[in-house]
Symmetry: C2
Subunit: 304 residues, 2 copies
DNA sequence: CAGATGATATACATAAATGTATGACGGCAC
DNA sequence: GTGCCGTCATACATTTATGTATATCATCTG
């Protein structure tokens, strides 16, 4: 009755099929062949006692059962990846791979510089940077180190509070030239176009909670992609929130309504048990130093 | 240069070798043979580029590298186990396996009754109960449902606050007959023996913080094992803290110094994405109902 | 409608992993 | 010391898993 525990490799194959939607595509990805992948799926279905896919000739459609199992398989995949990262590099030298998770803005605009100097110092260090506003779970080992905007509430995590990054309203010079400079919130609401996020993110809710009078502003451009938003801002499409330290680096950006200011807390978080790993240690330290520098620019040259 | 990703089965073998300390023992456990296990370890060492064990003829000693990888492998094992539990049972019927983590006291003294009625109702439900004071990590899927004494600080978890369990000082009637009944804390400190935990647990620290005058009481019996402690208490060895609802069930236990009272908060916690699983759902609900009943006994027949 | 493409399924040959049998070494009890 | 039991390592046979080749069907394109 009790089927023997399936080969753990079946889970890898299962996940690949789930992600690619066909045996053939999964086989290409895994470096196997289509019959083998098919047999793996058969065997796994046998073991778990449930149909995982409804086969058709244009691919495989996952059943509900397969979707239930998907997050587990994803955990397996991220854990094996983390294991291999942990195994990479020796315990004395700074070498091997470290995976960093950060928000899109921080990851694309701030971290590259910091990591560049780090890698100059440690040429054998390989950095995987995952700029994403989806929170990757450190406990599930999706990343080794994370730059986060929420306080970590986890025992097993080593967290370092960096400070507060301030956000202000900015527009490109060219926008101001065409539309003028709003001097009051009322003007902003009535006569100007804003740039914002596509979804009601936690960030937006925070903004409205702090500045309820902003409710009802019209948006001319929405995107979930931070870089696209920033490029839209720089292209003069409209007015948007921008991290103050970043804005200072671009002289063509003009601060508007300086009384409006949001702030986000920043932490750097790492697994407790990675602190003995030299590559994670130095990366953590470099991120701390670099981001402390970054938040310092909040007020540099600010109201004198 | 880049070794191909090792078979995920190697991790399972690796973990078994780590746990059993020898190729042969691991092979027996896995239902493989010793040469196969040896080859798996060889292959994994090749893949990660590090020695994992120093071989000797009385077994294999894990290297530092192996110890670094151990927690990852353990995560893999618990995840695969959770995956199989998730796959067990259909989505309509209450069947399959659910794994519950709880403290030793709750797990041994309180839950069996609750689970008995649950299983009478759902004969196809299989319950795995892990009574342990080590916190099993729900995010790592070591358990499906946990009864916890600390507030869960995790987004992805569905938590239900049960209430407060009160703890009081109790002794068995036979102890009182022999040593008398302490009427003051001073008497307790000077003339009585207490039963307590072996280590300085968080619980002990809480106690001393709340009742600093208890510092310096002498202990006649210490153990990390809650059941052993309670049996010692019932055997009349000494005075100890006991959960009030439990003590009420045993008429031979006498409450001492009723002004001394500790309380522990109780939560029931489950994965967010398990709430669609009928077996987890009904188990969760049964635990909630049963433990709400249990904490109600705190004050039943209390100070009138 | 014909033909190219991409999908799964099956039959068969091959390569790879596993098991069996055995040897060598070390600890432990008597 | 001797016998016994445990360990790992190696050589060889066998089973198992995998790859190759092919058939069949669906979809899209011209």
């Amino acid at each position: 009755m009790t089927a023997p525990e399936p080969s753990w490799d079946f889970y890898r194959t299962f996940l690949a099929v789930l992600e690619h939607g066909s045996l053939s595509a999964a086989a290409r990805d895994l470096g196997l062949t289509q019959p083998t992948v098919g047999r793996h799926v058969d065997a796994l279905e046998q073991s778990v006692g449930a149909e995982l896919f409804t086969r058709s000739q244009q691919g495989l459609l996952p059943t509900d059962a397969a979707l239930v199992l998907k997050p587990y398989a994803e955990t397996l995949a991220s854990t094996t990846a983390a294991l291999l990262r942990a195994a990479s590099g020796s315990r004395d030298k700074v070498s091997g791979t470290v995976r960093i998770s950060a928000s899109e803005v921080i990851g694309t605009e701030v971290l590259p510089q910091i990591l560049a100097t780090l890698q100059a110092q440690y040429p054998e260090l390989i950095v995987e940077l995952s700029p994403s506003d989806a929170v990757e779970d450190l406990l599930q080992r999706e990343a080794d180190i994370a730059v986060r905007m929420v306080a970590p509430a986890q025992e097993a995590l080593l967290a370092r509070h960096i400070g507060t990054i301030s956000l202000g309203l900015y527009a490109h010079r060219s926008y101001i030239e065409r539309h003028g400079k709003p001097e009051t919130i009322e003007e902003l609401r009535r006569r100007h176009k804003m740039i914002g996020f596509d979804r009601q993110t936690a960030y937006i809710r925070t903004m409205l909670k702090r500045y309820p009078m902003l409710d009802g502003v019209s948006f001319s451009f929405r995107s979930d992609h931070s870089t696209a938003l920033h490029n839209a801002l720089r292209a003069g499409i409209g007015i948007g929130f921008y991290q103050t330290p970043l804005a200072r680096r671009d002289v063509s950006l003009v601060r508007l309504l300086p009384e409006i200011e949001l702030s986000i807390e920043t932490w750097i978080v790492m697994h407790e048990n990675l602190k003995t790993s030299p590559r994670c240690r130095v990366t953590f330290d470099a991120l701390v130093a670099g981001l402390l520098d970054y938040v310092k620019e909040n007020d540099a040259g600010g109201r004198p």
